[in-house]
Amino acid sequence: MSTAPALKDWPLWEVFVRSKQGLEHKHCGSLHAADAAQALHMARDVYTRRQEGVSIWVVPSVAITASNPDDKGELFDPAADKIYRHPTFYEIPEEVGHM
């Protein structure tokens, strides 16, 4: 088979779809495309064949900065012992009703 480099050169894009007006765009997958317009077009064909969306974002995968899994503890554990940040931490007399 030919080993032309085209596919390799098509950058990777992350696809985000808004399922319905009023909801957020949600990550649904990725694809290769030559440019943004083609990425949008292909995202429409691949991820919205059954009215799954009303709007699509495509973002070059290289543009995403992700947190390092090794930093998970450092980043997220401090929140674990701050239960006073949750409403259920506080006891309110029942007669007050819903608050």
Partner: protein
């Protein structure tokens, strides 16, 4: 999907060796997460054997989706009505989409799609053997939907709980769409069964040719399936080949009765004690022969696939050239 991959070794799996012991801190964390039925994500540390197993299984699965477009694509131009043609185009398009979800999932493990496709095109990587059989008449299209996709669904549902996050998420999308595939096939057969004697005979003939091949889709018996146990431990495989096969048979027998066809197995009968249907011997020699590349359509399928890829080269080149030109124009305008 059509994966049989846990059990079918190919070139990419040859160097795969599980090193016992060597329990680093990372490995212990990985094992603990697997034991707690947690999910592994692309950036997480994982054993090399886990990564290789997944790349092999997901890419074989993806290859199966796109090769699976060929036997049915064969009938698009000859579908008996505009309605059936539209349905079949939608189904074949779905298979292409499933291939893409899966290639994307496999790419998160660090193997490029071009590399995976090269493996398929050179014959190094496997795809589901079911597609190495011909689609001889229109009823075959219905039977593929009903039985082949039915077997695939049975196989795929447990994969939605696979320990590797991107694979599990892709499978959830695939399963949602696969249900349409099975139902459209069964309904197309129902229509034929209400037709002429000749049409009913076509349905029975297609069922006769495909039944045993579908049972083989679940892979070799558990006793001959050395990879399965490791796959189970890693939470990649959730239910054994034999168990899935039995579930498929139990679900299909009543469907065959409603349809009015006979399943071509004289040993197929209800076993009160087991609470399952008993069934006859699968021809594993025939299955392995097809896996090895000697089925009736192996060469034709691969050649068609390679030709489609090569014929599409100019489109990929043109898209890239256009993107470069647009970018240059933007730079010039900004200057």
């Amino acid at each position: 999907m059509y994966t049989q991959a846990m059990d079918i070794p190919d070139e990419s799996g040859k160097k795969l060796a599980v090193v016992p012991g060597a329990a680093s801190e990372q490995e212990a964390a990985f094992e603990a997460r697997i034991a707690a039925d947690g999910r592994i994500e692309p950036q997480d540390w994982m054993p090399e054997a886990y990564r290789k197993t997944l790349v092999r299984q997901i890419s074989q699965h993806a290859h199966s989706e796109i090769v699976g477009m060929l036997p049915e694509g064969n009938w698009i131009s000859r579908a008996p009505s505009l309605k059936r043609k539209a349905i079949l185009i939608a189904k074949v398009q779905d298979e292409g989409g499933h291939g893409l979800y899966l290639y994307s999932a496999a790419e998160t493990l660090g193997t490029g799609r071009d590399e995976m496709l090269a493996g398929l095109h050179s014959g190094k990587a496997k795809y589901s053997s079911i597609f190495n059989y011909p689609t001889l008449n229109w009823a075959d299209v219905g039977v593929i939907g009903w039985l082949v996709d039915g077997a695939a669904i049975m196989n795929q549902i447990p994969l939605c709980r696979c320990s590797y996050g991107p694979y599990a998420r892709a499978m959830i999308r695939v399963c949602k769409e696969e249900s349409f595939h099975q139902r459209q096939g069964y309904e197309a057969l129902l229509v034929m069964m209400k037709g002429t004697d000749g049409q009913r005979a076509m349905v029975q003939d297609a069922v006769n040719r495909y039944w045993w091949k579908c049972l083989a889709m679940f892979g070799p018996p558990d006793a001959d399936s050395p990879h399965s146990a490791q796959g189970m431990r890693w939470g990649i495989k959730r239910i054994s080949n034999d168990e899935l096969r039995q579930k498929f048979i139990d679900a299909t027998v009543p469907q065959a009765k409603v349809l009015g066809v006979t399943l071509p197995d004289p040993d197929l009968k209800w076993n009160e004690e087991r609470g399952h249907y008993d069934y006859g011997q699968i021809d594993w020699a025939e299955f392995w022969n097809t896996v090895e590349g000697n089925g009736p359509c192996n060469k034709e399928r691969l050649a068609t696939r390679v030709k489609a890829h090569n014929d599409g080269q100019w489109v990929r080149d043109a898209a890239l050239a256009y993107a470069r030109k647009q970018k240059e124009r933007q730079v010039k305008e900004a200057a």
